[in-house]
Amino acid sequence: MQIVDRRLNPKAKSLGNRQRFIRRAKAEIKEAVREAVKNRKVSDIGSGEDVKISSKSLREPAFSLDSKTGSRDFVLPGNSDLVVGDAIPKPPPAGGRGNKGSKDGQGEDEFVFSLSREEFLDLFFEDLRLPNLVKAKLKSVKSTELSRAGFASDGPPSKLNHVRTMRNSLARRIALHRPSLMTLERLEEEIAKAEAEVPRDEDLIEELRARHSRIIQLRKTVAYLDPLDLKFNRHERVPKPSTQAVMFCLMDVSASMTERLKDLAKRFFMLLNVFLRRHYREVQVVFIRHTNVAQEVDEETFFSGRETGGTVISTAFVEMQRVINERYPLSDWNIYAAQASDGHNFSDDMEECISILETSLLSQCQYFAYIEVGAPDDGPYPPSEVWEGYEDLTGPHANFAMRRVTEAGEIYPVFRNLFSEEKSSKK
């Protein structure tokens, strides 16, 4: 007989099968991810997900017998009061009872499993068509720092925790009755005294000597410091806390913004959120919606609430400025803003918008991104009021980006400036 420890074998041996499985069901999984993105909050984009997919492409067919045809005899256990000839109604077809019905899991039309954070983001990004380099950057949480995480019973000497170690040592010495140095010295004194006395009491000396050697022996057996006592400080790597950021999501919610446009906007907000979370330990998200009045709302209302009214964008800027002034002092917070709209605004308002942006907001923001969402079949159309107005800003302000988007894949380039900036600043 032989015992082999296989626990240290390379992990994730199943990875190959898992990748093959995900590849196989990719279309369904992507659909599920898309669905999940709809139901997710902008702020929890970065976690794994249990997804439910239809098992259509995952069928493993085999020839099997149809339990709804022909006749059969079988045996069941646990008869309570049935006698020969009794009739038992068949269970409704759905829940195949017994060993006949549910053998091959024919009924499973849905298949639930969980995607890891990486896999989820992979599929999310795939929709957005990010360049691979960017994907790798977004997913990795590289910079970490050490933080205290309790104590361990082994570790390098430099991390020895003296207080804990000595406490253990003391407790052990007391528990095992290790004679203290004082006891030993006192005994040695007694021996010396007994030896000096005349006449010498040989019996007493003998007994004291015996006690002395016993104590020496005991002190040797029960060590002062035993490997058992050692306690070490334990540290864990935790993601490095950098400063905090707040992200403003501004969106026009007037009637012209359809569900589809809002969904596009949501992806845009999510991507910005993923990006920010890589850089900042804490990212807060503020949602401001506007028609001809603007208000700060929670996420639910932001995406689902309906408002009627005209469109005055500057109201949102005023609201944003108010929130910044009240809650997010510039010294403590990095401010990012993402604005989504279909490009309509009261033409009178544009001047006001530009001036607010130029005078205050743009200088306060790390980055201000604007996307204009539209239907793909709108075709080339005259630039909207907002687009025209903003175009002048792109030149002088490096932290301002704008983009017209008709489908999810076009969102990414909005961030391109941002990433390239980061790259160059690193060099």
């Binding site: 007989m1 015992i3 199943s14 020839f63 149809d66 045809t69 005899d73 045996v75 309570s80 006698v83």
Partner: protein, 518 residues
Amino acid sequence: MQINPTKATSRPLFDGADWTFDLVKKAYDAVEEIGIGELELDIYPNVIEVITSEQMLDAYASIGLPRMYRHWSFGKHFVRDELNYRRGSQALAYELVINSDPCINYIMEENSMTMHTLVLAHAAMGHNHFFKNNYLFQEWTRADAILDYLDFAKSYVSRCEELHGVNAVEQVLDAAHALMQQGISRYPGANKQMSLARERERALARHLYEERSFNDLWRTVPKQRSEDKPDVDDVTPSGSSSQVRLPEENLLYFLEKTAPKLEDWERELLRIVRNLATYFYPQRQTKVMNEGCATWTHFHIMNRLYDDGQLSEGAMLEFLHSHSSVTMQPAWSDRRFSGMNPYALGFAIMRDIERITTEPTSEDKDWFPDIAGSGDPVGELKRVWAEFRDDSFILQYLSPKVIRDFRLFGIHDEAQYPHVFVSSIHDERGYRRVRQALAQQYCVSTSDPDLQIIDADLQGSRRLVVSHRVRNGVMLERANCERTLYHLARLWGYRVKLVEVDAESGKVLKEHENLRMP
């Protein structure tokens, strides 16, 4: 069953739940002393491998073989099992054992020392003895070659993936898996004892031949018919009808030898799947016996350890708790019911054999005159383990007492009625009928659909005709049948027809044809 008095005072092998390699070794020695010393089991040498729960899930997903080739379906089972396990709706088995020589036993690191001892008694002794001695395993599997063969299969599949692309390999494997149950030659004589070691050499020879004779120029020449290629051995299909023997129940074998369009490596993949199907065939036929044998063995060994003082009271209670949950049989009306529990049934019948040989009642003397009171329970059980499979075992040894204990009753089910009828219960008139019906239920050759290739036109239309012998009016499940036919047609390369023929009257009941050509 006598307790050895000199040992009654021995100290417990371990106390507490924590295990170490030394303790496992010690427990194994104690278990082996009873298994081999007292019961005189005949086993393959054991290898105990300690694995994590993730590795266990992995092994689960690959139909119990941890060195399986890669395929998405294993990934599918893995992610589902993993989710269930994480949610706590599914517990993992305590053990996994491979029918190989040496016999590999997996034990999971998070189990307690008691559970490890139980697993050693259950798998390393019980299953191991069964694998080595049961006639089906002796006839159908080569325990000394399976591990090598799995390694070969794994590397062969991954090499095919490199050469021909993951997709191409996946398509062939998907199709082969769909036909896996039709990849076995069931009837006596058909199964020429194959040597898996020879299999591997054969494939290597073929590969070497290809490498030696590889000439890049030939790729530019229009493709030759496979018939013209020089043969390495008898495997390359000749395509001539003289070699085709019909009817043929082994669909995969037939395709491997005669499918006109398959490449050599595709044939080899079919062969791998076919060999694995054959390897698993005995297991499917001996679920009750195999688990019964292992459960009886662990029960005996654990009790003996306890009697000898080698198990503490606590460990014994822990063992009894898990033993009784493993051997629980919920009643048919219970929400937890999911068919007969092979552990419960097998264990009950084997305990009953033990009882009949030592303390027979007058009923037993009527029913089992040969063994009643023979006084040699272990000898009798060993004979049973060696010579029976589930259906014959139940037919021979299911006693009225076990039928009464389980309160078994027979059901007759006609598809057209909204009710099923009780056809027999545990009374004098019913015993034999219940026994007959339960045995039938475990007979693999009647519970699998009976399919055969009856015609293959190799010269003309190249149409393949498969027949299903319909017994008792039970037809094939339509949707599944059509999807499987699609796979069959993909391998065959031409149209495939499936006719369902009534076994008694010979009347054609239904025809399926794959309309959508792959």
